[in-house]
């Protein structure tokens, strides 16, 4: 089964963030870059599923030239090749545009003889968190779509590309879906542990075959007007003390809140 995984280059933030001069994006000049946790799991699921069914994994991103780093990182853990849809201004693309551009490239590849049985994405991107690209892409391709999926198992189909069983967490327990392929699936962290690159993986990543496309002008555009940071509410922390001697003070606080079981 041939699988496409869509990944997005995002700034790796853990602490304080600042805005850039335009006020519509964060200043990522001093930051490293990564992909979302959900997407790392999508890559892992793709590698496992392709291995189980004898297929290939291609990773795709719409982003700046530097996003090739994220594609190579995915090849380093086991993807076979990559597709970079390059744009200087990824922020100009709204979720409709991203889905459309990815859809066009998938169709282009199919014409060239490379058709994907399964397209995996992250459930939501860690930066913009639009929760939309997978579903919009599925409508564009006229494929069925699931979101919030944690594990997959390929079931043999008769003749065609086959079918897949997908598991996700629902309000009442683990929900199981069964889909004829091709399909789009948005993956959520928690079902698989992404692997680390091996030494041979790192070597492979350097030599990875990356196909390049130039992104078209975004059609719908990004509805964003600006970004705002939460007000820096000066917080007064009460230090109850140091070490075990402070235990009594903490238990006083817990008693006051009323959460200690009698």
């Amino acid at each position: 089964m041939d699988i496409l995984v869509c990944i997005k280059r995002i700034p790796d933030i853990s602490g304080q963030i600042t805005l850039d001069a335009s006020g519509t994006d964060i200043d990522d000049s001093g930051l490293g870059h990564t992909t979302s946790a959900h997407e790392e799991c999508a890559v892992e699921l793709a590698i496992q599923t392709a291995a189980a069914t004898g297929g290939k994994v291609t990773v795709l991103t719409l982003g700046p030239a530097e996003a090739v780093e994220q594609l190579r990182a995915a090849v380093g853990v086991g993807a076979n090749d990559g597709i970079l849809i390059e744009t200087e201004d990824p922020g100009a693309f709204g979720p409709e545009d991203i889905a459309q551009v990815i859809g066009d490239v998938i169709r282009d590849r199919a014409e060239g003889g490379q058709s994907f049985d399964l397209v995996l994405l992250g459930n939501d991107a860690a930066d913009t968190g639009d929760f939309q690209v997978p579903i919009r892409l599925a409508y564009d391709l006229e494929y069925p779509v699931l979101t919030g999926i944690q594990t997959l198992s390929a079931t043999s189909g008769s003749g065609g590309p086959g079918a897949i069983e997908a598991h996700g967490i629902g309000p009442a327990g683990t929900e199981i879906f069964s889909l004829e392929l091709p399909a789009v699936i948005a993956v959520q962290e928690g079902g698989v542990d992404p692997r680390y690159p091996s030494i041979t993986g790192r070597m492979k990543a350097k030599k990875a075959r990356i196909a390049e496309y130039a992104a078209p002008e975004p059609g719908a555009g990004n509805p964003r007007i600006g970004l705002e940071l939460p007000p820096d509410t000066a917080n007064e922390v009460t230090i109850l003390g140091e070490g075990p001697e402070a235990a009594g003070a903490l238990v006083d606080v817990l008693e006051e809140i009323g959460v200690i079981r009698s």
Binding site: G170, P171, G243
Partner: protein
């Protein structure tokens, strides 16, 4: 009119997150409708329109008397009760189409930002040719404000279009009751297109080992959080005893689940659970934004950390500086002593 997708729990009660969404819809109706083109008529696709600014609810599946009472106290003027064989098992496309069929031509459709809410609103947006805004926290004449970066920043945006389709971030709005209404109840039994049933849940496995169950965590009044500072898989003894004294739940950081010390169902944060306890006691957790994203709803934040400069300590209401094993060991002993 604003149509709100309402989720109910196993006992038939309106979910807290849906009560938040209903309150937001009611108290922000004019700001939401202001975004629409001038003088747009407020008509419904299937039924005659009630006055503009009204809130209507959609409930799929059983509708309990309790839920009707609660929807009335939340100011709902009309309840669309969807019950049909095709909608019995969840299929996002089938449910979304049923929502589209009762959505207004112009107005707003919203849900709380739960997995289902997110999924349904995106399908509704695509099917009505509109944009969608996830995790909205406020609406005013300048547009919508929504959480991005796991809550570390807010995006201001304008959706345009005839229908404002959005999900509300958890805890962006406190549920508030109003003068009770006498909601009209309309029952619909839609038939779904075969294509829309392809993504139907074929079966649900109720967890027996609780390994995948996050309900304890999201409902607990007290959560004890444990991070890398715990040290090892075998370092959870004191923490778990404290959880027990509080009748609470254990929550962990992604480092802890990533190292395989605890299951992912216990993870708190942007890619884990978002929790709303009365008190969260973060032990050996540094306070990365992706973790903080999950605990914004905690009323009181207590940090136990060796590092006074850590974000968690700086953001906490109360903190103890020290080794978590020693501190929690002493706290457990103190609780046992006071209990006598």
């Amino acid at each position: 009119m604003t149509l709100v997708f309402v989720e109910t729990d196993e006992s038939g009660q309106v979910a807290l997150t849906s009560a938040e969404a209903l309150t937001f819809a009611r108290t922000n109706a004019s700001a939401l409708l202001q975004q629409l083109p001038d003088g747009a008529p407020d008509t419904s696709r299937e039924v005659a329109a009630p006055p503009s600014g009204s809130t209507e609810a959609v409930v799929v599946g059983p509708l309990s008397e309790e839920a009707v009472g609660e929807l009335s106290r939340l100011g709902v003027s009309r309840i669309h009760h969807l019950e049909s064989a095709d909608l019995e098992a969840y299929s996002a496309t089938a449910w979304a189409q049923a929502l589209v069929d009762i959505a207004p031509e112009t107005g707003a459709v919203l849900a709380s930002g739960t997995p289902r809410g997110m999924e349904l609103m995106t399908h509704v947006a695509v099917r009505t040719g509109e944009r969608m805004a996830a995790n909205v926290v406020a609406a005013d004449e300048e547009g919508l404000l929504r959480q991005v970066l796991g809550g570390a920043a807010f995006e201001r945006l304008q959706l345009g279009g005839d229908l404002q389709v959005l999900t509300l971030a958890g805890h962006a709005c406190n549920p508030e009751e109003t003068t009770p209404t006498t909601p009209e109840i309309l029952t619909h039994s839609p038939e779904s297109a075969a294509e829309d049933l392809r993504t139907r849940v074929v079966r649900t496995e109720v967890e027996t080992d609780a390994d995948n169950d996050t309900s304890g965590l999201t409902q607990a009044r007290a959560v004890v959080g444990a991070g890398r500072g715990v040290g090892s898989e075998n370092g959870f003894g004191e923490v778990l005893e404290l959880v027990d004294h509080l009748g609470g739940a254990l929550g962990v950081s992604r480092v802890v689940t990533g190292l395989g010390w605890r299951p992912h169902s216990e993870q708190v944060g942007q890619t884990g659970s978002r929790i709303t306890p009365d008190v969260y006691i973060a032990c050996g957790i540094s306070g990365a934004i992706q973790h903080m994203a999950g605990i914004e709803g905690a009323k009181t934040l207590i940090a136990i950390n060796t590092d006074e400069e850590s974000t968690m300590v700086q953001r906490a209401d109360y903190a103890i500086i020290g080794d978590l094993h020693e501190v929690i060991g002493a706290v457990n002993e103190e609780i046992r002593n006071r209990r006598g």
